[in-house]
């Protein structure tokens, strides 16, 4: 069965979330949101808080409520990206090579307090996956005396999935998506990482996942990310985005 790249990534996100009670998804993150709603099809009790929801937003205490929830340990999984991400899982949302980006948002707090953080950035290039970030918005690891509930668990890109090895402070290449290969990943990653001798291919979406994605998941994603839904599913589904 043919599938979109976004569907493959959403399935990978669903597997990475795994056991969780509460997932929060930041603004402009349609693929993480799609993965979370796919997982919710199998685990209906999963709570998903979409931060950018314009109506029926999950919060009633203003924009600080997310951070208060995370500070207490009530957010199990969060997603972060970066203009740059380096081999020690530091992320940079501020500036690089004279270019200014929007800013750090809540990353310097959420990276510590959410149970797990999944790093997600579709662009997989040496420009993004750098040896050392130019500015640390949020650090990938902390000294032992620093109280830190959570941190990175994985880095998912448009080419590959890496796991984070907390003890070694290094990424490990877990799988490569169809269309890429281990050499391509190496050529496009400026930081060093561990890799198995034979790198497996990222699992393709199953027929069941595809039908969930193009049915109930599409319905909720289209409400919240209409442009994304149209782009990915306009020709793949009878349900209109």
């Amino acid at each position: 069965m043919s599938y979109a790249k976004e569907e493959l990534l959403a399935c990978a996100v669903a597997r990475l979330i795994g056991e969780a009670k509460h997932v929060a998804v930041g603004a402009a993150s349609p693929i993480p949101a799609t993965g979370a709603f796919l997982l919710k099809q199998k685990n209906p009790s999963l709570r998903i808080s979409l931060l950018q929801k314009r109506t029926g937003n999950p919060f009633t205490e203003g924009s600080r409520e997310l951070f208060d929830l995370a500070g207490q340990g009530r957010i199990d999984v969060f997603f972060l990206g970066g203009a740059q991400i380096d081999g020690e899982a530091n992320i940079n949302l501020v500036e690089a090579e004279g270019k200014r980006f929007p800013g750090s948002f809540g990353s310097a707090f959420m990276y510590f307090t959410a149970g797990k953080t999944i790093l997600f950035r579709e662009e997989h290039s040496p420009r993004v996956l750098v040896k050392k970030v130019d500015y640390v918005s949020a650090p990938g690891w902390s000294a032992p005396e620093v109280v830190r509930r959570g941190g990175p668990v994985a880095l998912l890109t448009g080419k590959a999935l890496f796991s984070w090895q907390k003890d070694k402070r290094r990424f490990r290449l877990e799988s490569v998506h169809p269309g890429s290969n281990a050499e391509d990943v190496k050529a496009n990653t400026a930081f060093e990482y561990d890799a198995p001798a034979r790198v497996p291919e990222t699992a393709a979406p199953s027929a069941e996942e595809i039908s969930l994605l193009r049915g109930p998941v599409l319905k909720v994603i289209a409400e919240n990310y209409p442009d994304f839904a149209r782009r990915v599913w306009a020709e793949r589904s009878s349900v209109s985005g």
Binding site: F67, F101, G103, F109, S142
Partner: protein
């Protein structure tokens, strides 16, 4: 007060303004009035981030300094005048992270000089921020923790769904506006509609209100948040924000935007 222009006239040059993000009732008509009156040397505090209002004020030369966790036009992408000013280094930018801004304002709400927060340690934000300190938790050994110094804007500025005859304003669930109002020395609010009586007498309305205790003055401004939204009344005018993002990519385009949408005082 009479209108948004009267509010803009009451905000002095050099003031520190506490402002909400684009999704949270921005007093855009006052922002346009500040540009019209050629406000100068403002310091903007983003609670916790800023968007269109900051980009317009920066582009128009009204801003000296910015403290914020981000400046973004959301789906419309980078804030072009902010980005250009940052890259030219013509603007002082103090980068923060969202909960540190909330915490600094909450300290002022309580009248205490600082409040602690977890996380943040090891971020370069800590190195560059002038008002954050790391101390040892006095209740435990070997536990470094960061402090946000109390933040007190001179002026809280935002828009409300309703004001009433008692001077209260209703902002519903947008409680960051209450935090800004509580923590600021003065607070100006424009509103969509005036309600008769006192909303605090109404048990259903009261929880969405900010009491007149905190409000310096209100002014009518129907569709005053446009092109941003007022939940339940009108949504964000996404196509307008996108066309702003395109026009403001260049200095000339930004000037044309001001001529068309700020100096002419037309709202959609």
């Amino acid at each position: 007060m009479r209108d948004a222009d009267a509010v803009a006239a009451a905000i002095p040059d050099g003031a520190t303004l506490g402002l909400p993000p684009d999704y949270s009732l921005v007093a855009m008509e006052v922002v346009r009035a500040l540009v019209r009156r050629k406000a100068k040397d403002l310091k903007l505090v983003g609670v916790p981030v800023l968007g269109l209002c900051a980009d317009i004020l920066i582009g128009a030369g009204c801003v000296r300094e910015l403290e914020t966790s981000a400046v973004t036009l959301g789906e419309a992408g980078l804030a072009p005048r902010f980005t250009a000013a940052a890259e030219k280094k013509s603007l002082k930018i103090v980068d923060a992270t969202c909960p540190m801004v909330h915490t600094g304002l909450q300290a002022t709400e309580k009248g205490v000089p600082f409040m602690p927060l977890r996380g943040v340690l090891g971020s370069d934000l800590v190195k560059h921020h002038p008002d954050w300190k790391v101390i040892d938790n006095p209740y435990a050994k070997g536990d470094p923790i960061i402090l946000a110094q109390a933040i007190q804007p001179d002026v809280a500025l935002f828009h409300a769904r309703w004001a009433d005859e008692a001077g209260n304003v209703w902002v519903g669930r947008r409680k960051e506006l209450a935090t800004i109002a509580h923590a600021s020395k003065s607070c100006y609010v424009t509103y969509e509609e005036l309600k008769k009586g006192d909303m605090l007498e109404d048990e259903i309305m009261a929880p969405g209100c900010i009491s007149s205790v905190y409000v310096t003055a209100v002014a009518p401004s129907p569709r005053g948040a446009w092109p941003l939204g007022v939940p339940g009344v009108y949504g964000i005018d996404d196509s307008h924000v996108q066309s702003y993002a395109r026009m403001a990519k260049t200095e000339d385009g930004f000037r044309r935007y001001l001529d068309e949408f700020v100096y002419k005082t037309v709202a959609a």
